[in-house]
Amino acid sequence: MRINQISVFLENTKGRLFEVCSVLGQHKINMRALTIAESQDFGVLRIVVDKPAEAVKILKENGFVTSLTDIVAVEVDDRPGGLAHILEVLSKEDINVEYMYGFVEKALEKALLVFRFDDPDRAISTLTKNKIRVIKKEEIINL
């Protein structure tokens, strides 16, 4: 199932990332995963949060350029070859990964991976067919 990722445009100025995190913190929004894609003089912050709709609203109110993107979160055994297995499945079905990032959830002893696909629905059905667990929206909130 698709999950909302928030993308925030960050110009390369001092303290800008801090400001995003600080605004989210003040509004009790919890970040589940985070990565920054950077170009020469700007970056795009990508975050998965527990309350995406609220987070977008707050960020916009605070003058941040944001947008929502559909991503797919996948659970993978935290052991050697865990990610390779998933990529093999995707590759066989010719599914393209635009980008991905991961984070480890200690309580579960599992790793969570966030994927951006050009065709998320096909990716989800392929993953599910191959018994790879796709994280549901509610799970992200309760992690």
């Binding site: 445009f9 100025t13 700007f42 350029v65």
Partner: protein, 436 residues
């Protein structure tokens, strides 16, 4: 000092005789101008319907000024005075917005222009024994071609390398023992800074003279370039509306640029009132091209600020000398010798939907060269979260700017509301370059 002339009779003509010649040529120019839709309308409105209405040089004051905006409005054929069959070349340059300006030349026009450039070259003491490396841009920009043909006419060995590619420039200078170069002052300073990188010293080169122009510079910069290269630097001034280089040029005395007054009828005016300034006072330079028949221009306001020297030059030329250009009466920027109007940048960035409502123009020094940075705010509704889309946007802005202003800018994307908000467009320009 040894003085050489290309056309001694013309260059040392008595002032009274020069004035008679100017009046005759002014009448011919008015006659030619009346053949264009633009001037036919404008001159008739102020009671000039034939050359006979010009009785003396004082009648020049009856003719209204011509501006760059007029040229733009007349684009492309409104100021063409001859049939296209007569035209052998045209040069366009960027206008203050997307509409360029154009100047046409007949064969005789080019011939006269070339002859004036030949005068300039000979006035600096260069001869057919010299090797001339022309590092000015060729093409629509008049700087390269103007000097090129003049140098060929005098008989110098011309290396038409054009602008840029410093490594090749230095290689050519060394291999062909170039003695005369033509460039912008910034580019000469850039070359000086690069010589050690290529393992060369000034003494490995044979340079004797540098013709520097296309951007304003000070006496200090002249001295600096002269000392760095052990050469004599001659100031060069021109503008495409007056053909290009060769309008005025320094002779061996290097004390101001002789204006070839048998072609360029010169006035210095108060830019606010349009009235002539008193002798040796600074003002806006206004030229009437007395010789060009394809595109006659009467009282063209250059927007360049300078003054005329009163005293005679020891070289014997009777044509008065123009000072260095000390400023502009508009907001034009000169970036590595290329003229850029902030309005051109605005027009480009504002037609791109992904760009928000605010932008800023920064001009800085990057080593010896100029660097243009255009900062734009992105339009938040167009943000998809896709990094490659942002990179593509940057490239698109760069490409469109390059097409419009002919120089390569750096583009920075900013968050909406992050750039300072200004009332007038002039404040959007931050020029941190120290004066050359």
């Amino acid at each position: 000092m040894e003085i050489s002339y290309w056309n001694k009779e013309a260059e040392t003509m008595e002032r009274a005789q020069l004035a008679r010649l100017q009046l005759k040529l002014l009448r011919e120019t008015v006659e030619a101008a009346l053949a264009t839709p633009f001037y036919a309308h404008r001159l008739k409105k102020c009671g000039i319907s034939s050359a006979r209405d010009i009785k003396s040089l004082a009648d020049l004051a009856r003719i209204p000024f011509t501006t760059k905006d007029d040229l733009r409005e007349g684009y492309p054929y409104g100021l063409l005075a001859v049939s296209l069959e007569e035209v052998v070349r045209l040069h366009t340059s960027s206008g203050t917005t997307g509409i360029p300006t154009v100047i046409y030349h007949t064969k005789a026009d080019l011939d006269n222009w070339t002859d004036l450039v030949a005068r300039c070259i000979v006035a600096t003491g260069a001869t057919r024994r010299d090797v001339f490396q022309n590092m000015m841009t060729y093409g629509l920009f008049t700087g390269g071609l103007g000097l090129h043909y003049g140098a060929e006419r005098v008989g110098l060995t011309v290396i038409p390398v054009g602008g840029g590619n410093t490594k090749r420039q230095i290689q050519l200078m060394k291999d062909f023992r170039s003695t005369v170069v033509h460039a912008t002052p910034s580019y000469m300073l850039h070359i000086a800074s690069k010589l050690p990188e290529y393992g060369l010293k000034i003494s490995d080169l044979c340079l004797k003279k540098g013709y520097l122009g296309a951007e304003p510079y000070s006496e200090n910069t002249r001295k600096k370039v002269e000392e760095l290269f052990h050469i004599d630097v001659y100031n060069s001034y021109g503008l495409s509306e007056m053909n290009g280089p060769g309008v005025s040029f320094e002779c061996v005395y290097k004390n101001g640029m002789h204006i070839w007054e048998d072609t360029y009828l010169t006035e210095i005016i108060d830019p606010k009132t349009g009235e002539p300034v008193t002798e040796e006072q600074e003002g806006e330079v206004v030229f009437t091209n007395l010789k060009r028949r394809a595109t006659p221009l009467l009282r063209y306001r250059t927007r360049d600020v300078a003054f005329l020297y009163k005293d005679d030059c020891p070289c014997g030329r009777t044509h008065r000398r123009l000072s260095r250009i000390t400023g502009r009466t508009d907001d034009m920027l000169i970036i590595n010798g290329v003229n850029v109007f902030p309005s051109q940048v605005e027009e480009v960035v504002m037609r791109i939907p992904e760009v928000g409502t605010n932008y800023q123009i920064y001009v800085e020094k990057d080593g010896a060269l100029d660097k243009l940075i255009v900062k734009v705010e992105i339009y938040s509704k167009m943000f998809t979260g896709d990094l490659s889309a942002l990179d593509a946007l940057k490239e698109k802005i760069k490409d469109e700017l390059r097409a419009s202003i002919v120089i390569n800018p750096a583009v920075e994307l900013h968050e909406p509301g992050s750039l300072p908000v200004f009332e007038g467009k002039a404040q959007r320009v931050v020029d941190s370059r120290p004066k050359l």
